[in-house]
Subunit: 476 residues, 4 copies
């Protein structure tokens, strides 16, 4: 159980709309465009003016919602959520949005991110009589709002948010309003759009394009956006710290057609690839990328280096949740699953294989072998980000530190392990330059913690050791 | 919302088992045998010694649990629930058992019955900072246990139960024990059985027969049964009031093969039919019963009266949740759904039609018409219970008082309305005599509140009006 | 494969309707009421005036047809089929109706019954170049019609039917007409009804009651009913032989609310029970029937004998295709499946258990043990039909002769084997008397072949041995 | 019906394996890799040494086959099929492989392609007494084999194939052998591979890569490959005509990782793009391709022209069969479905949009508008194939000739209609050069009929008009 009550919310996708006659349909399409941010489960809470109702389930948006389901969700406002698959926690009750009923009104919550002080907060709340039905960090905010002594709902929300430490983008819907909040470091993206006369909020701008909405602006760190019958309002619940937009959102997580803090993701990735080609010129015949997230970087590398870009690896588009995984025996006989090499492209060639990152190294090893089995003469692995040496506390699933291959090994050791002819990582400076970001900066700061170990918020260890800190966030 | 937070739990079915290697399978078969107590939703919580895990869903036991689901539920103890369909509340989160995770341990709860003071308790708990994720009364007990200042878990449970007013049978499972509790009036049934060395608890004894378990005894009103590694223990959490076993459990709700407080349900119903024949001798050609619940009473009536018992009405066995309901137009053309008359049996005959009760009268009217359309010369409706004139606060779905046909109308008025040639209800005295029960009695008492308006507990109105009462059940 | 190409069609259910605006819906409800005649698979072919389209699937009517499916079946005429489960043949392609497309028009066929000369006919047709896509006898008729040299369609059908030997009720739908045909011995039932201005055909009259149609008359042996834009027409394709209506349809197969050749099935069964009580008076405390098919006979026995009828056995209503069968280990621990004894009724009693037939004896043995385990002091088994000593060639699934317990054993040997205190079978004379039938009779004849070995048609063996016979039915 | 009995089989995917212990699993993965060739329906026939059994259904391979389904398909040889979606023909019975049972043995057939003389052959066969259960061309071959007077099975197959005109790749499985056949012009691809000691046959070589098999060689036009217990054998059933490998397989249909007649598809497409850049140099800022099929050509164009390749259009990966299509109203509000523009890439830019072909022009028009709405300053459409002016009779779904936008319109007219700033098609010569093919050639010929109207076989019209031709292919 302990494992379950540590910070559970990982990178997810959020979508909300206020006062639109097709609220459920629009939310369906919005979530669909954010599906890459989470495939494990999804849910929508609809507000029909009288009540809030939830429909949730495990799986993809298209699996969870039938036409009937969407048509029955009558109402003018909605929030929705897509959830990332994390190991060991597939309980239905953790699928968001969470919905709470009370005689003073209803409350729906959806969350993207991960809290540093989740465990402490749960313990404090439980000690005071709260009971938790989910293992989700999101439920903590609901309890904090409920227990707040502040006189009005917005004041309660602001007080509650101030007790949280970590990365969070929240959508909160009550009977009367839609609220969006972003943590003071702005670690994950959250943007505001407009569709006709209705406001929409989404984790990524690609959701606006797909529903035909206009991008208005990003939510600012520490900002509270309140949308209700009086229109849209901005409030501040905490002073903005240095902005620390997660670099990995650019590197691999976001959709290429989204703009994050004004920068197009595909373009950013292409720049990473170009920068790599400058930092690591290699004599080779073809450049190929690991689909889908490394395609843009590979194109950039090819463009900068002049080496032709080719489809050296193909992703099987029809592998979904119901795909029958090959048994170990079949895998050893060579049955492939998601990725297959293009023999006609790599056979006899010196191949530059661009990937976005190396976490445990097992996938890279498998792909290098696959390319060599298909006849590649040399495989040069170039990674469009620096080595990941530190754990992420903010939601990116970079696994435990002791499983991070780069945490204890040199680049040469990793190269040997994955069987590549050469291995190059992008430098931290190159990363920032390509993204046009700075590490610590009010406007253009980027979180590089997983590369550097320097975290934009206090960390788990600090919380454990510093009693004063705990007092500061005590809930009474 | 108000509608949703009034007492929501209706008649349901409970099953629990402690320490059996096939816990999930046994619970599946146990719930299956209790399916008549609730077809809307079902769930099982399994205890694998380390954690509690839930699997729930809408629909029948066979629809919610696949072979895979059951096989993946590895563990040695389990509780399960089948839920009755109540209008207007089909939210997934209300499906039981409810499961709560906390750093001090897990808690699963399943409930049969309905609480009188649910609304008040929710309000009090919410005022103290509790938030509710379900509209179910069951969640109240969880909050009360959590907030109790008692030093140990069993003491907390006992204190919490003492704050509840109404009808309740609870199954509570923690990491270490299985607890069963029955309200001090013993309104609904709950029995203890033994399967090999394992103890089982079920709402009805038919569950023991189907799994091959031996019946041990009924849980007593106000009793707490605790099953753990040390065996089975009995405790008292409240003094037993006069026993008030619900008469409608005998009349129509329970399965004919169950024994309730030592009396076989089929036999009880047959006695009701015999008593009816004594009270209301009718000159007719055939006796028929409305399947399935009135078959036994019809057989009793036939046996006592000497008029042949016939299958005058047939129930369509294959009408389930996925059955396509006929449109109004098709119904008017004569398309039937669940019930059809047996023309070959009723044509030209004077028919005695035995039914268990009349609630709104619409069903009776439809069946009388069906029999007449099939050629019955006369239709004499005899009802194996007295007129239902008062609402039930304890879980039987007898609808709102103003919809009860018997609440405002004379027997003659009802007869005209349903189109019967004669209409007879069983007398209250006849009911008690046939069931071998008394209205107010420590050992053999039966709740007749829906016939008499005399409730075994305080009522909703009394709670609303009496401030002292509220203090008595205040939670601090 | 040999096993598959012997006569495969068993007892099934047929429904057809010509020119009704709700043809698909009506067929759905009609098939639903015939579901007891086959639960393995079902299909509907709809005629939209231009084309015939099929929708079929494995399982119950409610499983195979969603609301969408039925709504998309636009058309004014339809035929449908429910298929009985026979071991070893679950191939999708055998689900009926079969549909054949040709440039001269479409042809849909549905069949109830079993052909004696199926194997020979297939061999002859294959030798002449026909290929078979199903293992179903029905396909033979399609080939015979297609190959017929007769000048018009009706003449082709009549010629083709004359080549078949065995039991058959056929529904045939083309673009322009609906045709019904019954074999010259009239072994299985087939009736005509009227719904408004539309004609309907069904295997049993219960289908008329459920859709609100009026019964017109039974199809006669050797008769061809043709329904088209000019109305309804009767034709004769073969001289009627002595009528040989299957006795087992009365005994256990048909629905109690159907009338077969003018006799209500429930009443017929009750008479069987009464006759049994006359033939075999037993001193006992209670009479009980094995649900559902033996309930009526048990009621009759009770009525005649004066011994009270009780529900000694309960059928679990919610056991369907998706029910998880208990493992052998769980069964040995006492987990029951479909049937459970009512301890409260049988404990300490001398029980008369009425069943409709004994085939292999294993079920009877299990039920006797179940009653004794539940405390029955004595179990007297009375069977409302004579011993089944001969195989059925006409569709009733009485299994291979060497598996028939009555084929090689005396009544006393069977009694010992099933563990009953006494065992009584109804006499053949008693059967005919109770059903008001005669064995060989033009109007009221009944097929008793499974009891007597005297078959109303030539038999398999005769076909094998008689070359002249084969010539007589040669296909060109 | 007429519509249905014209040539129905379109481009599909075939996979077969002989004697492998994981035959069903391997076929599942093989079909999965061919899923792009057909998403409407799929089926596998397994040979367990005694019998052939089919499992089929509508939808994707992962939707039709559950783990259970595959595990229950015990056997050592199998053939499978994925079927392309064609309008107006969704009858279940058309899903392949087709399976025929006969007392002389079983026969399973799967087909890729389309027959010119299908309608005639059906009429001839029906006139001789054959009946058809499917609208599929494949069934014709089964009848022809069955009716052949040749002395042995292989001779029958060869005679039957000689009666077919058109494009066809067949897999035939009997109890004893697996047979592959390719039409004398070799219009569609079919290749032989080896997996351990087992032979495999597949429509594309990508299937070999995914299962870890080794490519052996392509099946030759007019060749019959016979695999049985004696190994693999090659036979000729018809003299090879000039090879006429379909050019559209290279242009858009096949998977980029497949090799067709020795040429890698991705490389071929890239060459098409390069050739386009040579033929049509355009002054622009970015090159983008319509995903997925035009990506390779766009990369080629970019590489040759030096204009950067960018992701200007994103395909929504999660849009499947269950996706809820936006209503017309939502579409007009701007809700997109499968494709969305990358505003951050195209805004303010002159965009070269590479697509593989224009059929009706509606899709091109929509994409051009989408790019302009996203801010593209200019949109230059370049098409990596010549204008499609003639219908395809061989299976490629290029629709009816009168719907082909290029059939009646000039390039300038098309440009205006789709709203592009310029529009360029690849020349026929450029196409052949890029593919390294010749139009009429024994070894390297390619079918360009849809561009030129010159067909490698006789055509529909010729068949209609030439009685002698019909005699030549008469079936007696």
């Amino acid at each position: 159980m302990l494992a379950e009550i540590k910070g559970l919310n990982e990178e997810c996708g959020l979508f909300g709309i206020w006062q639109h006659q097709d609220a459920a349909h629009i939310t369906y399409y919005g979530l669909q465009s954010l599906q890459h941010r989470g495939q494990e489960g999804t849910g929508i809470v609809i507000n029909d003016g009288i009540n809030l109702k939830a429909h949730k389930g495990e799986g993809l948006v298209t699996e969870v919602f039938s036409r009937n389901d969407i048509e029955e969700m009558k109402g003018y406002s909605a929030i929705g959520h897509v959830r990332y698959s994390t190991k060991g926690d597939r309980n239905f009750e953790n699928i968001q949005p969470l919905l709470f009923h009370s005689h003073t009104g209803n409350l729906a919550l959806a969350h993207n991110g991960s809290l540093i002080n989740a465990k402490r907060m749960r313990a404090l709340l439980e000690a005071q009589g709260s009971i938790f039905q989910t293992a989700s960090d999101t439920e903590i905010l609901a309890h904090l709002i409920k227990r707040s002594k502040q006189p009005c709902f917005i004041a309660k929300v602001k007080a509650a948010l101030n007790m949280l430490i970590g990365a969070y983008a929240f959508l909160i819907m009550t009977d009367d309003e839609l609220i969006a909040a972003l943590d003071p470091s702005g670690i994950h993206p959250l943007s505001i759009g407009k569709l006709g006369n209705s406001y929409v909020i989404a984790s990524e701008t690609c959701a606006f394009d797909i529903i035909g909405a206009e991008f208005i602006r990003d939510v600012q760190p520490g900002e509270l956006i309140i949308i209700n019958k009086d229109g849209i309002h901005s409030d501040i619940f905490a002073p903005q710290r240095k902005m620390a937009m997660c670099a990995m959102e650019y590197v691999y997580f976001a959709r290429p057609d989204s703009n994050l803090r004004g920068i197009n993701v595909h373009t950013a990735r292409k720049n990473l690839g170009k920068q790599l080609a400058i930092e690591a010129p290699i004599d080779a015949d073809v450049v190929t990328g690991v689909p889908d997230s490394s395609i843009s970087a590979a194109i950039g590398y090819a463009e900068e280096s002049g080496i032709p870009y080719e489809l050296g690896l193909i992703k099987n588009r029809y592998v979904g949740r119901t795909f029958i995984q090959p048994t170990q025996a079949l895998r050893e006989q060579g049955v492939k699953m998601k990725l297959s090499p293009v023999r006609g492209v790599v056979e006899g060639k010196r191949v530059i294989m661009v990937d976005d990152s190396i976490v445990r190294g097992t996938t890279s090893k498998r792909i290098v072998k696959m390319l060599k089995d298909a006849g590649a003469k040399e495989v040069h692995v170039v990674i469009s980000s620096p080595p990941i040496e530190y754990p992420c506390f903010y939601g990116i699933d970079t696994t435990e530190q002791d499983e991070l291959i780069a945490a204890g090994k040199s680049v040469e050791e990793i190269r040997q392990l994955i069987g590549a002819d050469t291995l190059t990582f992008l430098s931290k400076e190159g990363l920032l330059k390509a993204l046009n970001r700075k590490e610590w900066d009010q406007q253009n700061g980027s979180c590089l913690a997983c590369f550097t170990g320097e975290y934009p918020t206090i960390t788990n260890d600090e919380i454990q050791n510093d009693k004063d800190l705990m007092r500061a966030v005590s809930i009474d």
